[in-house]
Symmetry: C2
Subunit: 480 residues, 2 copies
Amino acid sequence: MSKEEIGITVSKEIDFSEWYTQVVLKAKLADYAPVKGLIVLRPDGYSIWESLKTTFDRKFLKNGIRNGFLPILIPESLLGKEQKHFAGFNPEVFWVTHSGENVLGDRLALRPTSETLAYTMYSKWIQSWRDLPLKINFWNTALRAEIKATKPFLRTSEFLWQEGHTVHANQEEAENEVMKILEIYKNTVEDELAIPVVTGKKSEKEKFVGAVYTTTMEAIMPDGKALQMGTSHFLGQNFSVPFEVKFADKDNIEQFAWQTSWGVSWRLIGAMIMVHGDDKGLVLPPKVAPIQIVIVPIFKSDDSKEIVFKKVNEIYEELESKQIRVHIDDRVELTPGYKFNDWELKGVPLRIEIGPKDIEKEQIVLAKRYNREKINLNFKEIEKIVTILDEIQKDMLKIAKIKAKENTSIISNYTEFKSKIVKGGFLYAYWCGKVECETKIKEETGADIRVIPFESKNTDGKCMYCQEQSITIPIFARGY
Amino acid sequence: MSKEEIGITVSKEIDFSEWYTQVVLKAKLADYAPVKGLIVLRPDGYSIWESLKTTFDRKFLKNGIRNGFLPILIPESLLGKEQKHFAGFNPEVFWVTHSGENVLGDRLALRPTSETLAYTMYSKWIQSWRDLPLKINFWNTALRAEIKATKPFLRTSEFLWQEGHTVHANQEEAENEVMKILEIYKNTVEDELAIPVVTGKKSEKEKFVGAVYTTTMEAIMPDGKALQMGTSHFLGQNFSVPFEVKFADKDNIEQFAWQTSWGVSWRLIGAMIMVHGDDKGLVLPPKVAPIQIVIVPIFKSDDSKEIVFKKVNEIYEELESKQIRVHIDDRVELTPGYKFNDWELKGVPLRIEIGPKDIEKEQIVLAKRYNREKINLNFKEIEKIVTILDEIQKDMLKIAKIKAKENTSIISNYTEFKSKIVKGGFLYAYWCGKVECETKIKEETGADIRVIPFESKNTDGKCMYCQEQSITIPIFARGY
């Protein structure tokens, strides 16, 4: 392969969609599986998911949430028990009809989500107020048949996610849980992936089928499309009634419980690629990078090789002792230039270059991936690298916030809206709260209400569509 | 519920099968799912799996193995590419035939195992010797329709496992990998779960369908039945040829690669329950226990409560600072006696009892779960608990080894074999190596060759069945 074929061959500005696919495949994060709509994660891709998983697990546990396991097969009869919920998922369900040569009696669904199964179990496990709250999270995959073209991490028929399901003795506690989870989602995405998000509620039209309301975090992508990054649902008693999730309260009176469910998926990885990547390839935030620093030794003769590698190994040991994930690229048959491109494509946050001249000057060259800055660092200052990684992480979020702001507008009328939506972006606009306007706007512009931000107040505006009194200022956008 | 209903109501000696099921359900490790053959893991059960996962991940990574993700759906055409393999799994496969209302063109199998899918991908990813070895592990579930009655962790139609798939440039390296993995399996099971195993090869009849040979680790359960605890397969080029897993060697000549695959499942948890449990319930080895120590405060008046809790909290802090997983049972409405039974049922390795009298004597009472021994420990000796947990772990393995030995016999003739097999156990017996004898023995006694131990030499015996020259001394047993 020529150098061009190995690297990214299109510009992010010019063909965002093709650029994205090339980054995913060429940085070896994922690949297409033999079945249409499905992808395989290679170790560098899965490692990012594992890193997020570790962070979420720590935060969930601190919040009293433990992990469990649910099987993938759900009987059709069970899935249909909450009817709106069933109607919402039914068109996307994969159905198992045979085991070996045998026809199954009841068709089995591959889980599109596990509310129905989890709550069947919960109803057995919960008897009294002493069993509450019950808070369990499940790391698994969900399956929903996609008919549109596969987009790794963004549109696949099977996706990795976590789904949490909690049960509470009263409404207030359940609603607090919904918000606590959304806060964990938001700070994890901002702190680990350096992606700013807006949190708020979904409209009635866009909420999870079966929920009383859905809270969401949304991010704006560089191509002007919005991406739903995670949702946390207040289910009220919508499921506890049909699934009989009941408990005897302290006065021994039977009550239906209050429930929540919430999830994030590997979409988060897709967002990270889109927000930070550039024309050289992937750009990884240090906190989730499988390799945080790559050391590229530069040498010509065998003499210089020995001197260089002695120092390289010293630096490697020092960085590793500081829990930094560091790798030495000691491949002999490749030039430093080739290696630089290779690691830039893979998005490694920091590269250390070290050759005989650097050793004379008692320094290393540090190349930052995200802004392509190069600095020299004296041998005595190696420990500063910990701080530098931290600064990179923070600066990436700062830059992402600036870009998101550039992609956000406040709209005063529908004409302006229709002109702006072509370019995309988050568009704040007055809305009367009626689903008719929401539907018309969607039909005419392709934009839907992504989120009604929590800070959105009922101000004295007019709905941009019908000119009636506005009740909120949601963010409209075209979405993924 | 009465006390009897909460606790285990049958003896392990008298009704092993019922005892096992009660322990699983009443210790809240798992429960039956709505679909026959499937189970759900509750947090205490899943936590044991997570603990094993963490240990395996650390050891795999040290051995250069990283994790990836494979989808659950495999096209029928792909599954059939290695014919023996397909024939072996076909009767157990769950088939997806519809998505929503649409009939699928090619039926999709729910993964019974992922060789065919993984190697389709590997064949794309591997071009040259530089891409080798390729070593990826996948934590997922496998689905194989079970027709017999469900036995949690032992016989379920979906089970949690890991499947590792490695590719090598030559036979020797691949065969070494097979052995390295088996060693990781063995030391993890012995060190973490305190279960002794015998390692060796499977017979031709019992090997993995598609493998050149299968290595295995087997354990003997207290009821005299053998349990396969994990297998590591040398696949040779059996898959690399049909799946075209090829590489250009250093002389640029194309070669078919050499492969391995290997897996352990949540059966390990089933084995742990069977080997260590007793009539009071579960007995957990400290290393995998979700809670390692439970503190039960004992008090009558409010005065004593305050004094006791002050000390309880001190001890809690001290133990937690030593990374011990400790829990205070501060439930007010329950008696100490009830709590003791409850935590014994759940198998918590150590219980600390502390009441006003203990405080006067400046001591705590330590109750060990595995041997029900009680000792006093002075307040000044709390740090000894770390060593005590370690000793419990080691002693549990020692006891398990003694029991396994008691359940192992060396057989001199077929009459003795037929009489002994009724009671069960590992039976070492001479074998000529012919599948005919193996099959006859199975038909007549229900016992199969579990493992041909590595140390088994070709000694000067006669096959117990046909009296011809023996070539090995395998272990025969009836199995799960």
